[in-house]
């Protein structure tokens, strides 16, 4: 899950050298699109199938209208422009769909549970999420390292002037990469919808976490994002489970229960700063 968002974002951040914070909005839009289309068509699969191209087109539009004017600006201005976009989309969704959270229902086939280990039923949908995540990982890896398009993207990332001089249409390429990123975020949103709720601003907590993932993994490295997503997930979850227990042994129950989850949230950031202090460019910086 985290990887899907982080992968899309690392494409935009690293390969295009563009600081884009409205990625969370794209997650949200994906979730809303899928939910609305599912309700409209009455079929979850059809809804998702229609929503994916929609997020792609949305990415294209956003790039053409706004983002491409910002490539040559400094990071600060990119941060602000995308901050403005976040505000806009959050409110837009709130006006369009109302402030209340939506719930998206799963088709019966996906909402059951399977028993992998004895006595531990596991929801089917979470397996689907893991599967989609892995599939996306493999596809991006293939796309970037094994195809001509991927080679062009990498060439554009390492030296856009040179690539442009060799006749590569960088503008078109960047539009495409951005749209792919938007699409990945949208898919993440669709997966997320049924697990949590679909509401305005749902993307932001994820955004920060996925930025953490990217930074730990090294900006622009898809493999790095993949490994870092797993690491951050592990740190976060184990922290959440173990810390309250550990704290309970040193202080009284109430204090421990209060402090535990918050300290666990800190853990991810502590992890990231340790990584950055030791390796200022992330764990797996892209070569060159």
């Amino acid at each position: 899950m985290l990887f899907l968002i982080a992968a899309g974002l690392t494409l935009v951040l690293g390969i295009m050298d563009f600081v884009f914070l409205a990625h969370g909005s794209q997650v949200m839009i994906g979730a809303y699109a899928a939910t609305a289309l599912t309700a409209w068509t009455g079929n979850f699969y059809l809804g998702v199938a229609l929503a994916i191209p929609l997020t792609f087109v949305f990415g294209l539009l956003l790039e053409t209208l706004i983002i491409r004017h910002l490539y040559h600006r400094d990071h600060m201005e990119q941060v602000l422009a995308s901050f403005g976009l976040i505000l806009f989309f959050n409110e837009l969704v709130r006006i369009g769909f109302g402030p209340a959270a939506l719930f998206s229902n799963l088709p019966p086939m996906l909402s059951g549970a399977v028993t992998i280990f004895p006595d531990a039923p596991y929801p089917v949908f979470r397996l689907v999420v893991i599967g989609v995540g892995l599939l996306a990982a493999v596809m991006i890896w293939l796309l970037v390292t094994r195809t001509r398009l991927g080679a062009l993207v990498r060439a554009g990332a390492s030296n856009r002037t040179m690539a442009a001089a060799l006749g590569v249409n960088i503008a078109l390429l960047q539009r495409f990469v951005f749209a792919i990123g938007a699409c990945l975020a949208g898919i993440a949103g669709m997966m997320l919808g049924p697990i949590t709720t679909v509401e305005s601003g749902m993307g932001e907590p994820l955004l920060i976490l996925s930025l953490v993932v990217i930074i730990i993994g090294g900006v622009g490295s898809v493999q790095g994002a993949f490994i870092a997503a797993i690491m951050v997930g592990l740190v976060d979850t184990t922290g959440r489970v173990l810390l309250p227990h550990l704290l309970r042994s040193v202080m009284d129950q109430a204090t421990a229960d209060g402090a535990g989850p918050a300290l666990a949230s800190m853990l991810v950031y502590i992890f990231m700063s340790v990584v950055l202090v030791v390796r200022p460019r992330g764990l797996f910086p892209p070569k060159g």
């Binding site: 600060m76 201005e77 403005g84 409110e91 950031y269 502590i270 990231m272």
Partner: protein, 330 residues
């Protein structure tokens, strides 16, 4: 060449003149509100001054030093909690609170700055954000001091002034803002300030001249953290409340917006930006309320695109608009 320098100095004076003009207006503002009987606007002006102060501090490293810190709200929060926690333990003197806040933000600024400045660019933005998030969750976890809900507090005792008397708090904030402005003006013109600005344009050359850019950056970072702490003390006294929400990451974003609206790397810019930002925050819902009342809550739908347009078309923020008007109009 001397001509270039002369215009630079003249521009500088012009910009500072605006700063002192704004400060003067803010100083006289309570007279206007008492004549017009609009005490609510004193409140808005206080918020403008507090946020403006914090933004001016951040602008020292951002505008002049070229370091985008995305975690500056943490220092405001630390300042606010310095007031809250010392009051909790029976220390009521505001002077002492200020001292504690400055010390605390100074030390933490040193630690965070030292660790963060090992990185640069995007990584720097993110690591400062990470530290801010750490502090945020740290204060959320402090159940004894209110945890998530924060702590209610009384205005501190700034002997011999009683902050509950009308306008005392207003002028306390105003005087601190004026002092911060004065200090920043001197810092920027000093040798230290010049080197700091040089590290922004070319850190390698500064190093080649035998100076250690890192030292100047850390000093700048600490200084701006302490200004943030001072703003936090004022914030706690103004709001009579300290909570983790003060240091939420969106507030760091707000500070960046304020600086960019006003104009990066100028002294008066952040203050101008704070005025612009908070006035928009007050007026936009009202304006929308007149046109389409059901959407008054959603003022950000206008504000968001405005921000995008500002970034796209106005370089240098309000400050840039004003100075180009001066030059163009002749």
């Amino acid at each position: 060449m001397p001509g270039v320098f002369l215009t630079a100095i003249r521009d500088g004076v012009k910009q500072h003149r605006l700063l002192w003009l704004l400060l003067g207006l803010l100083g006289l503002f309570p007279i206007v509100t008492s004549v017009a009987d609009l005490p609510f606007w004193n409140d808005v002006a206080m918020r403008i001054m507090i946020l403006g102060m914090a933004a001016m501090g951040l602008n020292l490293i951002l505008g002049f030093g070229g370091l985008v810190s995305f975690g500056h709200a943490a220092f405001i929060g630390l300042g606010a909690y310095a007031v809250g926690i010392s009051q909790f333990h029976g220390i009521d003197s505001g002077w002492l609170h200020t001292l504690i806040a400055l010390g605390l933000t100074g030390v933490l600024g040193l630690v965070i700055g030292f660790l963060s400045l090992r990185t640069s660019g995007l990584y720097f933005i993110m690591i400062t954000l990470a530290f801010a998030q750490m502090l945020y969750f740290f204060f959320v976890s402090l159940e004894g001091y209110g945890g998530d809900d924060g702590m209610i507090l009384d205005r501190a005792e700034f002997a011999p002034f009683d902050l509950y008397e009308p306008l005392r708090l207003y002028y306390l904030i105003w005087v601190s803002l004026a002092l911060v402005s004065l200090m920043l003006m001197m810092v920027i013109q000093s040798r230290f300030g010049l080197v700091l600005q040089a590290t922004r344009s070319n850190a390698g050359r500064v190093e080649a001249m035998g100076l250690n850019p890192l030292r100047f950056r850390i000093t700048g970072f600490v200084l701006s953290a302490m200004i943030g702490g001072l703003a936090g003390v004022m914030f706690a006294n103004w709001q009579e409340y300290a909570s983790p929400a003060i240091m939420h990451w969106s507030r760091s974003g707000e500070l960046l917006i304020i600086i960019v609206i006003g104009g990066m790397g100028t002294l008066a810019g952040p203050l101008l930006g704070a005025i612009g930002f908070l006035l928009l925050e007050e007026f936009l819902p009202e304006i929308i309320g007149h046109i389409a009342p059901q959407y008054a809550e959603n003022w950000m739908i206008i504000f968001g695109p405005m921000l995008v347009l500002l970034v796209l078309f106005v370089r240098g923020g309000l400050m840039g608009l004003i100075t180009s008007r001066f030059r163009g109009g002749g």
